[in-house]
């Protein structure tokens, strides 16, 4: 295992198991910040029956790993990992795990939010929602420029 790790998988994940891997990869960790994304039941007032998640094999893994490396340069991190599910998912299911281990909490929180912004705004994943009214690709809501502004260096 590596201190920085990315997994794209159809299977569900366990936050406890992923956090235990983070701790095995790091010394003197005092803080773990996690984000867990969940498939929402409603989107634009339509009830979601299921969700189909597609990615760009190769580019997705490589680009997320690079963002973990950037985060480690920017903050004092011991370890960081991302698990992102693909394929068919249902409301209430887990989609994505981000875990960041650090000695102190502020670095862990900030790096976790930074990684999530990348996953939401730039990582090559696409969601298709299946609702009672049919299937449609989810529209992107936020622009890259918002994320870039938030994390621009001083």
């Amino acid at each position: 295992m590596q201190a920085l790790a990315v997994a794209i998988q159809s299977e569900d994940f366990s936050v406890d198991a992923e956090n235990a891997d983070l701790l095995r990869q790091s010394n003197n960790t005092g803080a773990i910040a996690n984000f867990v994304g969940i498939v929402r039941v409603n989107n634009d007032r339509l009830t979601v029956v299921s969700m189909q998640l597609e990615h760009y094999p190769g580019m997705t893994e490589k680009s997320i790993l690079r963002v973990l490396q950037e985060a480690r340069q920017r903050w004092q991190l011991n370890a960081a990992r991302v698990v992102h599910r693909i394929g068919e998912l249902h409301p209430g299911e887990q989609i994505v795990y981000v875990g960041v281990a650090s000695e102190h909490r502020h670095a862990a929180f900030d790096a976790c939010a930074y990684i999530m912004d990348y996953l939401k705004l730039q990582a090559p994943f696409w969601k298709k929602e299946i609702t009672a009214n049919g299937a449609h690709w989810v529209d992107a809501r936020e622009s890259d420029s918002i994320a870039a502004q938030r994390w621009s260096k001083p």
């Binding site: 996953l119 939401k120 090559p124 696409w126 992107a140």
Partner: protein
């Protein structure tokens, strides 16, 4: 040869996820997009020229002016919606 990939809505609209084309057909990503429309019919234009279509060369997002060379992997895709 160039390896060309389409994802998500584009893949569905074009009815194809991957194709190869001769490297001489396109010196840049923009020229490749034009030559794909020329080779496959005008109905490809609506998809490949839709707002905010993104192009990646060798798994890096690039500008449309990006030069191409034989062996490159070029991907076209709509705005991403992960997380």
């Amino acid at each position: 040869m160039l390896k060309v990939l389409f994802f998500a809505r584009l893949r569905e609209e074009l009815g194809i996820g991957e194709l190869n084309c001769a490297a001489e057909q396109a010196a840049t990503a923009a020229q490749l997009r034009e030559s794909l429309v020329a080779a496959n019919g005008e109905h490809w234009r609506a998809s490949l020229f839709a707002d905010n279509i993104i192009v990646a060369v060798n798994q890096e997002v690039v500008d449309w002016s990006q030069p191409l060379q034989a062996g490159d992997e070029i991907a076209f895709f709509p705005p991403v919606t992960g997380g």
